[in-house]
Every structure is written in structure tokens, then in C-alpha cells.
């Protein structure tokens, strides 16, 4: 499938419609059946695909309607990791965290039905985001491997590093690689490995890269990677080693809303210069929408952000997207933000002489 220049895409999640959110809660409380849940999932999935297509995105999916959230979903299908309770992320927001009790093994490819449903209902090329091995491991309590390594080693830092490495590699080999292989059989257009935890531990970058490459080993599909809200400088030494076709990164959150394509106005995009210095020549997914504010970015601001990026990235390597999943925003806000993003891309395409 051929994409236009500066293809537009969403990153991951879109807020669930109220009826789906309610049925998920009822399902967890044992007050709704799996059948009722699935019915609502399908309805919301179709609505979201349509919303993203209508807004004009070039690559679409269903905004996580099949998943409660990006961590809970995989853990539900991994033997060896058990949910142990709610842990705070910020303020009064919590996620249900798992603990690794034995070697993680895949129970079922938890993305296949989801992918086939979305593909059947989408008119545009489909991208499927998958939570990566490093993030699954990092967001879980590592009981099994810590216990194991404490038997062999006294230094707590070595225990922690070795236990983490073994866990991440096991998830990559036993869980993620089989899912990717399976999806590859169905000619999936693009698979985005989500690794928000990737650049949060400076001493574990080598583990992240090793596991990522293990996860995508012998996979024919196009693999991209999304990383956000962390220190990208840590990633720079590894950008060539990482077997991904695209890095999809958050920038708008760090940027000003001042117009212009000078370095000061576009200070949130300073990484682009560093990427160029490091000889980065893969695709780049450019975050131009801040997902943590209800303010809608004006089209002109997004145009400036894209034009600034074009100073450092070739147009045929540049993809345009929000910083991250938009599920923290109301659906209508998300739609408006995406609409402005698409509009801005049309303007830049015209200016570059590609039509719309």
C-alpha cells in the first residue's frame, strides 16, 4: 500500500465512549458478560476507525477499544505474571500492576482477533500498536528473577540488572516474538512496538535494545517504535542498532506555542538536530500534538513544527502524529486536534508541491 508524502497517523489510545467504559467496569465487577463486552467493543471499534478515517488520517486503527489499557491487556494473556493490585502513577490515578511469579509464557495471541477485526472494518492501511517487552517487564514487579539471582549474587545492583535482563529477554522471546510472527502471516501493514519505559533507566539501555531486536527477530512485517516522555539522549547511541523502521517520538509536550521555525520557538524539537548529527536515516514519527492539554493546536503552529522538522528529516522519511495516545482527552477534543494536524499536513504537502 502506497502512502502519501508526510503520512498522518494516530499513536495509540483514544478515549473509550462512555457506553464502552461502563460495560468494561461492569465486566470487571462480574455484572456484564463477555458477549455484552464484545458487542460494545466492536461497536466502539468501528466508530473509532471511522472517526480516524473521516478526520483524514492515512494510517488508522481503533484506538485501543479492544483493550482495557496497554499494560492490563497483555498481562491478561501472559502466564507467569499475576495481577497483585493497584499502584499509583500520579495523583489519584492507578494501574493494576502484575508480579512475575514464573517464566512468562504466551497463553494466546491477544492481538490477532483485534487486528483481523480492525482490518476488516478499515478502508485505510492499518497499524497495530503492541506493548513492548521492556515496558511489560519494567511495569511489573520482578519477583521470580530477583529471587533466582539473589541465590547467585550478593551485589544488589548486579542482582537487579541480571534479573531485569533475563525477564525482558524471556518476554521478548516467549511472548512478543511469537505474536509478531503470527501477525506477520496476515500481512499486517505496520506494527508499532510501544516502549514508553525504554529510556527511563540509563543503565539498562542495552537490555532494551537487545530485547527489542530479539522480539523482532525474523519478522517480515514493517516494525516501528513509539517512545515517549523520557530522556531521548539515552537512545542516540543505539539508533542504528535498534531494528526498527521508524522512531515515533513525543516532541510537542516539550515545545512552545510561539509561531516560527527558529530554534527558540521550536525548542521542543531540539532532538532533531542531534538525530541528524548521529546520522539517523530511518523514518521519524513527529509528535506535533500535545495530548495533555485541551487546547487545540492551531494549524499554523503545526505547520511550523513540520517545517522545522523538514530542516533535519527528509520529507519521504517524515510521518506526522500526536505525541502519544489521545485517551486523556475527550473524543471531540481528540478529533479536533487530529483534524488540525491533517489540515496542517495538507498545507505543507501543497507547499512542497505534492498536492494534498
Amino acid at each position: 500500500m502506497k502512502l502519501p508524502i508526510l503520512p498522518t497517523q494516530e499513536i495509540g489510545s483514544i478515549r473509550k465512549p462512555d457506553y464502552l467504559f461502563d460495560v468494561w467496569k461492569k465486566y470487571f465487577a462480574g455484572k456484564a458478560s463477555e458477549e455484552e463486552l464484545n458487542k460494545c467493543i466492536k461497536k466502539a471499534s468501528i466508530e473509532t476507525i471511522k472517526m480516524l478515517e473521516d478526520v483524514g488520517l492515512d494510517i488508522v486503527w481503533d484506538g485501543e477499544m479492544h483493550r482495557w489499557e496497554m499494560y492490563y491487556h497483555p498481562i491478561s494473556y501472559i502466564q507467569g505474571i499475576e495481577f497483585v493490585g493497584q499502584v499509583r502513577i500520579l495523583d489519584n490515578r492507578y494501574f493494576v500492576k502484575g508480579a512475575v511469579k514464573s517464566i512468562p509464557k504466551l497463553v494466546k495471541n491477544y492481538h490477532l482477533e483485534e487486528y483481523l477485526f480492525i482490518r476488516e472494518n478499515a478502508r485505510k492501511p492499518v497499524k497495530i500498536p503492541i506493548t513492548g517487552p521492556y515496558t511489560i517487564a519494567d511495569w511489573s514487579f520482578n519477583e521470580f528473577y530477583i529471587k533466582k539471582w539473589m541465590r547467585f549474587e550478593k551485589d544488589p545492583k548486579i542482582v537487579r540488572y541480571n534479573a531485569k535482563r533475563e525477564l525482558v529477554i524471556d518476554i521478548a522471546k516467549n511472548v512478543i516474538n511469537p505474536i509478531l510472527k503470527d501477525l506477520s502471516k496476515y500481512e499486517v501493514f505496520r506494527i508499532q512496538i510501544d516502549e514508553p519505559a525504554a529510556t527511563t533507566h540509563p543503565n539498562e539501555m542495552d537490555i532494551f535494545v537487545e530485547a527489542f531486536n530479539e522480539a523482532v527477530k525474523d519478522i517480515k512485517a514493517t516494525i516501528t517504535t513509539h517512545i515517549c516522555y523520557s530522556n531521548y539522549d539515552l537512545l542516540l547511541p543505539y539508533i542504528h542498532e535498534l531494528k526498527t523502521k521508524q522512531l515515533t517520538l513525543e516532541f510537542a509536550n516539550r515545545d512552545s506555542w510561539r509561531r516560527g521555525i527558529d530554534d527558540e520557538a521550536r525548542r521542543g524539537y531540539s532532538l532533531l538536530k542531534k538525530l541528524k548529527e548521529y546520522g539517523y536515516d530511518k523514518e521519524l514519527g513527529l509528535g506535533v500534538i500535545d495530548v495533555h492539554t485541551n487546547e487545540i493546536e492551531p494549524v499554523e503552529l503545526i505547520v511550523d513544527r513540520i517545517k522545522y522538522a523538514l530542516k533535519y528529516i527528509e520529507p519521504d522519511k517524515l510521518f506526522i502524529n500526536p505525541d502519544c495516545g489521545l485517551r486523556t482527552r475527550a473524543r471531540e477534543i481528540a478529533r479536533k486536534k487530529l483534524a488540525n494536524m491533517v489540515e496542517a499536513v495538507k498545507i505543507v504537502r501543497r507547499e512542497l508541491g505534492y498536492g494534498e
Partner: protein, 312 residues
Amino acid sequence: MTNYEFYITGIFPRDDRLISIWKMWEWGKATGKDLEDEIRREAKEVIDLQVRADLTYIHNPHINWHDLFRPFTKLENIREGPLTRFFENNTFYRKPIIVDKQSYKPGLLDEYMFTDLMPKGRDWIYTLPGLYTFYKLSEFRDRGTAIDTIQNVILGAMEDLRSNGFRVIILHEPSIAYEGEYVDTKTVKDLYKPLIESGFEYWLHLYFGDVNPVIGLLCDIAQYGFSVDLSYTPIEILDRIPVDRLSLGIIDAQNSLLEDVEDLVKTIRGFNARVKFKNIGVCPNTDLDYLPYNIARAKIMVLAHLARRLRG
């Protein structure tokens, strides 16, 4: 004869009921009174649990703290900044933005103290942000203003807490341990100078890093003692520390795995046989808030069993 002291520190996790009421309050489906009642119910539970566990010190239940700095961003010249990752965790805090000089406002911590629920006749302790961590994790334009403000605010808070019956203040200083050899020693010393002169009893709580490179500095600024995170610092390097009181952060508050009490007894007794400190504190390495509520409770019971074994 070594005196063993047992305690918890920092923010305690909320149970499902409190999380739920809090959400309902945010959505306008529960009243402020409903939320306050629920906070007090859980505060009492956390206090009672510490009493039942026979901990040496009873910690104020910090269940209504959103993060280490949040109460202080209610002050006029310390604003709530952007959500920011807390060290290497999947946990975020609001970065304090110090816009101008600020002193402590009496009563600021009233809603964060549960003195009427705390047990009489026991020593009470309270956690505050360490001065260097406050400095490093804040945003400000002027170094002098930031230092003055942080000193004034924390000293004021300590005075307020002491007048409310808290005997010891624990200052959380992850930045010192995390930065290790790269720590800004001059700023640490500048920040702690008035505290050292104040006569307040405070213990530094160090976590998220190996304290080996900063032991000399810690001995200068923490005359009443400090704790080390044993999930980062090898216990062997502590043998040579010239202080009277040291705390071992031996309960891992970042892992749900429950410690084997006999293993802990062996480690602590082995350590004590080598060093002969007058006082050895035993505590979690960091806030139990990194754990689900039930596991945090279970960790306190591990501490309770450990206390029974070590006290003989």
C-alpha cells in the same frame, strides 16, 4: 547492646475504597465530607497496623499526599509545575516551581497530620522532602531564592511538626543517593547548614542509589543518622561508617516479593556483629506507596516479625 528500631517512612498507598471515593469526589459524585471521612478511616487503619506491629516509631499516615512536594505547592510562591517522571519510576510528580521567596505558612500541614488519631505515649515520626531533593526536582530562576525558600519552608514545617508532637523528622533524599559521585556537594552543605544548627532531630532517608560515593558528605550533614537502600548499596560497605545510628532500608518497597524473615535476621545480625552500632534502624528502603495496599500491609507484618526475632 544494640538498640534496634523499627519504622516505616514516606507515603503510604491508598486502599481500593479510598481510591474509589477519591475518584467519585473528583467526578462530583461524592462530597468533601465523604472523602475526608474515608481518609480518616484509612489513616486510623494505617496507624493501628503500626501499633499492632509494635514498631518503635509510629509514622503519620501520608495517605493524602499526591507526591513528595505537593503540600508545599499550596504556598503562594511555590506553584504546581508540569507532570514529571519521579526518577526512573512509572510514577509522576508535579514539579514545584519556586517563583519568589517564600516562608512556611503555619497550619499548612494541618490537613496532612493525624495527631488526634496517633497513639499517646509513643514516639511519632513524619516524612518531609529532603532539602537537596526539593532543590534538584524544582524549577526556579535564582539559586539563592530557591535555597532560602526551601530552607525556610522545611525548617518552618519541622517546627510546626515538633510543636504538634512529632519527635523525629525523616527527610527523603533520593537525589543524593541517585546522583552519587555527581552530587553537588556545595549546594547540599549550603542547604543543610541552618538545619544542622537548628537542633532538630532529623534522619536522612536515602534511596534509588548506592550511598558509597557520598558517605563522607552524609556524615557531615546527618548527625542524627541516615538510612541506606540495600537494594542498591551492598551492606558490606557500611561497616566503616563513623556514626552512632544507621538505618537499613532492607524491606524492598519496590518489589511485591515478601522478604524471608530468617534471611533478614541473618543479614542484620551478621552486620551488627561486624560494626556494633549503638542504634540500628530497620525500615523499608522507600515509600510503601510503590506497592498495592495489601502488599504494603504485608511488608509491615514482615517488619513486625523481624522486630520480634531481633528483639529476642
